[in-house]
């Protein structure tokens, strides 16, 4: 065994970098702390999406005529098709939740501060890409839900002043929602987005390793800051166990409620009420408050402002203070947004119940 490793190492030179990666010292205070597994868990969820996504691509037919039938086939006739599609379906929600939680942790621990600004930025981009994954993904079954959600979603882009018409055309690949839209969303969902996310994840982890984990904020943790454990196997075990737990949860949810598939898209139906995925609900609710000419405020200004402030955050909040209870402004602002999002989501869900 040893000789084989040695032979491979002599020819690839990999053992050094691999050993460095695995033996990376992790401060003891993060070990077995759930808050510090959120990033790794998000990566795990992404891996599950990649695996189930590749499996689904073996059967999916990206055409307006065949898409619904192929997803129907996967869901109801293919052995374990319901399971693979279900894990992919619930996995997308898990991605959104985990990315959000991971960002909240980073936010409250002020881990975005110098010198980790770029890591925060790659994270914000990743959040954006995860949402783009969700948006492109649910058109693919070409059922009523996907069709109408995409129709509304692209119309939202179309309400942007001046360039709206250009945006809607680019997104749809033409004037109407049709074959060109489906192919676009498909290519984006299975090639462009995964490749972009993979590159950003590498950059994200590289940055993390370069700067190390952000300083602890509690006295208890600071006391442990000089003791380290190796990434492998100690920390990796925690992440793997958490990942298996996540997988079990996804499988259970799929088993309890198979991923929904509505009836095929009918562009002429006048009684279908589009419902966005739950994590876009608050945004859908927001749109109701800006009628007529005010619409671009909700469709473009508020999202731009939110993403803009997330991007600018590390450059605006440059104080040395890292303890959230000593930084009432950032803490209260975030709590305000969380409450607004929860309230809007509840309102939107109640409206559809």
């Amino acid at each position: 065994m040893n000789r084989i490793f040695k032979w491979i190492d002599e020819r690839t030179g990999l053992s050094g970098p691999v050993r460095n990666f695995l033996n990376y010292p992790v401060p003891k205070y993060v070990h077995r702390n759930f808050l510090y597994t959120l990033g790794g868990l998000t990566l795990m969820a992404f891996l599950f999406q990649i695996i189930t996504g590749i499996l689904l691509a073996f059967y999916y037919d990206p055409s307006t005529e065949g898409a619904y039938n192929s997803v129907d086939y996967i869901s109801f006739q293919l052995p374990l098709g319901w399971l693979v599609r279900g894990v992919h379906h619930y996995g997308s929600s898990a991605m959104v939740i985990l990315v959000s939680l991971h960002m909240l942790r980073t936010y409250y621990f002020s881990a975005y501060k110098k010198p980790r600004e770029l890591n925060w930025l790659t994270g914000v981009l990743l959040l954006f890409l995860v949402l783009a994954f969700g948006f492109t993904g649910y058109l693919l079954p070409w059922d009523q839900k996907g069709y109408w959600a995409t129709k509304v979603g692209t119309e939202i882009a179309g309400s942007v002043p001046l360039i709206g018409n250009f945006l809607i055309r680019i997104m749809r690949g033409g004037e109407n929602l049709g074959q060109a839209t489906l192919t676009r969303f498909y290519a984006g969902h299975i090639l462009l987005l995964p490749a972009s996310v993979a590159i950003l994840i590498v950059a994200h982890i590289f940055q993390l390793r370069h700067h190390g984990i952000a300083p602890a904020i509690t006295k208890k943790a600071q006391a442990q800051a000089k003791t380290f454990i190796p990434f492998f196997p100690d920390w990796a075990i925690t992440d793997t166990a958490a990942g298996l737990g996540l997988l079990a949860l996804l499988v259970y949810m799929t088993w309890a409620n198979h991923a929904p598939l509505e009836f095929p898209a009918d562009p002429t139906s006048n009684n279908y009420i589009p419902r966005p995925e739950w994590y876009f609900m608050f945004y859908f609710q927001l749109l109701k408050y800006f009628p007529g000419a005010l619409e671009p405020i909700a469709t473009i200004l508020i999202p731009l402002f939110l993403f803009g402030s997330m991007i600018l955050l590390p450059f605006v909040d440059r104080s040395e203070e890292r303890r959230p209870w000593r930084k009432p402004v950032t803490t209260l602002v975030s709590l305000f947004y969380i409450i607004v999002i929860i309230v809007f989501t509840v309102l939107a869900m109640a409206a559809y119940a």
Binding site: A180, N270, N271, L287
Partner: protein, 172 residues
Amino acid sequence: MAAPKLPPLPTDKGVWDEHTLSRRGFLEATLGALAGLGTLLVAVPSVRFLIGNSLEPSTTKWVELGKVADLPAAAVTQVNYSTRATDAWRQVTQRGTVYVSSADGGTTFTALDGTCTHLGCIVQWDEGKGAFICPCHSGYYTREGEVISGPPPHRLRQLAVKVQDGTLLAEI
């Protein structure tokens, strides 16, 4: 532009070529230019390719809505039309919803596109309320398509109509 100095090679390995050292700035600039040119050469056609035919100007066509004699003179009637159309590389049956009404008892007709101007859902005619109602965000329009209340930014699109051989046609 002065190129940063290269660190010396380990003595047991050898030395950097003097000639290449002196030309390093030039080589870097050339490489940058070539890489930039290459990127442009790839990026410009790629962007054009991706835009594809998305921006082709809209074309209109006339579709048959039905025989004038069969259309109710007073009521607002939902007409679903279907017409053959090209969707990218696919020949498809394009379907749509038009609401036809007449203000003068069946002599002239008004055809309204059923697509809500807010976010594109299809509106429903509610005879009791005498209004078109969008199921998505409760936009209300009058029988003539003007906005009464709700989020729609402007009125329902009115389609040009004409009567040919007793058949009502609309331009979509």
